[in-house]
Symmetry: C2
Subunit: 492 residues, 2 copies
């Protein structure tokens, strides 16, 4: 293994990039802005998918699949949505390559194979899906439509970063249609709760639930709900969004239903999504200068057993014990790797599993065999203890739960320590330039003020928290009256 | 519900199209050649994915994700592969839309946002993946690389059909790299066996394992192994392929490793895939004029319980029993739907679940409550019996296993009845125009003969079966010597 990671305190950004690469999570590809998600990174994403997918199904949703391409005429039907994404669309214009007569062995786009209508590679699927819903909805009996899609989407971002901002990314997008506004709003909040629950109980990531200001709203939505998390460098990260679409897409795509009195009405829509960006949040929220720190609930390997041995005979004896333990742990639903290779030294392996964030490491040597013990090392606290093999399964099971809780508590403590109530613009700027983090400040409610604050400080309104308290005050920027504090931060 | 399906005997093709739509499996979208996979169809695909994914992992593979786009220069690196797919590639040439000054509210491709190098939407991922493997492989210690990807791919087919041939489809593609030729060949055969096992034990679909002739080989492969199945109209369908790539991609992308003696060698490759085309095979192999027939191992709903009731009180009583039964069956891992809605009559529901291929239907009425019985109806044989509720769980469990077996046996019987050994070209043509099916015939081993046979009969060599017996004879077409019989058919 190569030398250590850059330190967070010295270069957070470089630390993140190197960690993502060295822990085998992802790497840049030769396609501009597109990443390769490597097996270890993908295994974490699969765990995220499994948990979320179960939650979606438990809340009544089904998966389906809609086309990758959106014909330009459909794409532009909901004007605000189209406007919001037009600047970053990959566009398919041709459907064939041919041999390049000027360069033997090379290909060129066949000019005769130009599409009559250009196809946009989906940056999000509202247009193609609402165009389909038009045919699926006639009567109130057809509602609600509760559908989710796991898919890749493309947004031509100019500045990209692994997981956080890539031209292609993986996500899920829920798209629902309802008979009433109330029902749609209920869905929007329900899915926000699903995301918050996932973030807190699986990612060990405390989040603030809130509503976006108009400036930050999803293009085509009436209201965007979100969960916002805080990273270790004091910057915020939007971890999931749930949009109330009103009747905007229903009107753009003419999706009507006859209600119980036979009256034709437009349906009400929602959409909600989380993406591989969550991988970035997970990495940045908990990891340290030695590498990844993964919450046990999302770790592909929860426990690794490393034998300390000289020669075949010792290994055989340790393997017996280790294999029995592995089996006993797996019976409890714990994922275990027994790494018995002799290609690498135990010290090398220790560093490797530390880098990869395996929550618990068990070392077993000849002395342990004699004593009926093993050494347990926690990744999060780096504490070690020697414990009896007798009853170790229960110990490990409760330790994993403790680690999960402990990582969450640490992140929550960090967020609390880095959420600052400020009462003047001086304080506002000083906090941002100092410790950073979330800043709770009075705002006059106008887009103009929000934009000026952004220009001057690079901070945006992350959300108007759902637990917003009415409290009269004066806007830190304009001095105009404010009804309460909103959450500002510099953000990813 | 609308009137019945077209009959298979009258118009097989129309029967298939209508069935796919009416059973809510998939439909055509407004994007040329691209389908929408509806929730019920997608639920079947998810079951397929779950089984296959487990098998891939059990055989040592990990999932990963590679970019959707392939830069033209990478795409053309392996010339045969590029040539094979160039004619059907969707090509991204621009990365931005802008407002069309001539048409307010409309968008146009921004001519200033032309890509320096065009991007091909992956028709398959060998190029992008081998270009990545180049950096992942240095030493024999890095081998084998055993990776699978679940993804969407695009091939611009001119004539499309739901599931069987669509411009965009979903699939998995395994891509492995090995130190030796033997190991790569072993992998190719292992994955072919995985596919055959999946087809036979989950899809209830008997398949012939074999090797493709040179004409039908994957572009860029040295050898293509396949599984071939027979549909009810006597046409064959290729259900999965596993390719031995030799060192072709390693050479095109310069993927070398140093072996144990420090000598640099090119690695050996394989790739293998199955797609949503399997959905087409599943539908066509077993279904009948009343609708889908699903093997229990892939049915999203294995058992449906339909109450026969008048009024709330009767429904409440039946619901008690039905809910208890549902719970007991679910505890055995059986998926059950209890359809208590009063929107539709029992007769309507019966037809609907028949159309959707639910393997077992349980009807419970007031008479059943009195007698402690229920009516069980099998979808595959359409037989009914009244059975005691006491012990019904075991009965259902064994019945599901019996149905699975029975559907397979029926398909096997059909295939055996429709595999014909012929000894002359007259017989060959007569069989194809008569009952169709697989035809085993001597062939001289040349591409010329194969092409002429195809021209004259539309039949292709589906494969040279792995259980090929050396048997000297004369080619049915050319009269030249032949070493054995190969499998011909008209195919999807």
């Amino acid at each position: 293994m190569s030398k250590g990671l850059p330190k967070r305190s010295e270069n957070y950004s470089e630390w993140y990039n190197e960690l993502v690469k060295r822990a085998d999570l992802a790497e840049n590809s030769d396609v501009r802005g597109c990443m390769v998600i490597k097996p270890y990174g993908y295994a974490i994403w699969e765990k995220m998918q499994a948990v979320l997918d179960k939650k979606f199904k438990e809340t009544g949703h089904s998966n389906a699949y809609f086309p990758l391409f959106v014909p330009k005429s459909l794409f532009e039907a909901e004007e605000k949505n189209a406007e919001g994404f037009a600047k970053e669309c990959a566009v398919v214009t041709h459907y064939r390559l041919k041999n390049d007569p000027a360069k033997p062995g090379k290909l060129m786009v066949d000019p005769e194979a130009r599409l009559e209508e250009e196809l946009v590679v989906r940056p999000t699927s509202e247009a193609i899906i609402w165009n389909t819903y038009k045919n699926w909805v006639q009567s109130y009996r057809d509602l609600p439509l509760l559908i989710n899609q796991w898919a890749n989407v493309v947004r031509w971002e100019m500045r990209t970063r692994l997981f956080l901002r890539t031209a292609e990314f993986l996500w899920q997008e829920g798209h629902t249609a309802h008979a009433t506004k109330e029902e749609a709003l209920e869905e929007v909040k329900k899915m926000l709760d699903v995301y918050a629950d996932f973030a807190e109980n699986f990612m060990a990531l405390p989040v603030v639930k809130g509503v976006k200001s108009e400036n930050e709203r999803f293009a085509g939505a009436e209201e965007t709900y979100c969960i916002e998390a805080l990273m270790q460098d004091g910057k915020a990260l939007q971890a999931g969004t749930s949009h109330f679409l009103g009747q905007n897409f229903a009107k753009a795509f003419d999706v009507k239903f006859s209600d119980k009195t036979n009256k034709l009405e437009y349906v009400w829509g929602t959409s909600w999504g989380v993406s591989t960006r969550l991988m970035g949040a997970l990495i940045m929220a908990h990891s340290d200068d030695e590498g990844l720190v993964l919450p046990p609930n999302l770790a592909p390997i929860q426990v690794v057993i490393v034998p300390i041995f000289k020669g075949e005979e010792q290994l055989a004896k340790i393997s017996d014990k280790a294999s029995a333990l592995k089996k006993a742990l797996e019976a409890r639903g714990i994922s275990v790797k027994f790494d018995a290779t002799d290609k690498f030294t135990p010290g090398f392996k220790f560093a490797e599993y530390e880098l990869k964030g395996v929550p618990l490491r068990i070392a077993m040597g000849p002395r342990d065999l004699e004593n009926g013990t093993a050494e347990l090392a926690r990744r999060d606290t780096k504490t070690k203890e020697t414990v009896a093999l007798e009853g170790i399964e229960q110990k490990i099971e409760s330790l994993l739960a403790e680690i999960q809780q402990s990582i969450y508590t640490k992140a929550l403590q960090y967020r609390n320590d880095n959420t600052t109530v400020v009462n003047s613009f001086e304080e506002f700027k000083k906090t941002l330039d100092g410790k950073g983090g979330f800043v709770l400040a009075h705002w006059d409610g106008t887009s103009e003020t929000e934009e000026k604050i952004k220009e001057e400080t690079k901070a945006t309104i992350r959300c108007i928290p759902l637990d917003f308290k009415e409290e009269s005050g004066t806007c830190v920027y304009s001095g105009k009256p404010s009804k309460g504090r909103v959450l500002f931060a510099r953000a990813y």
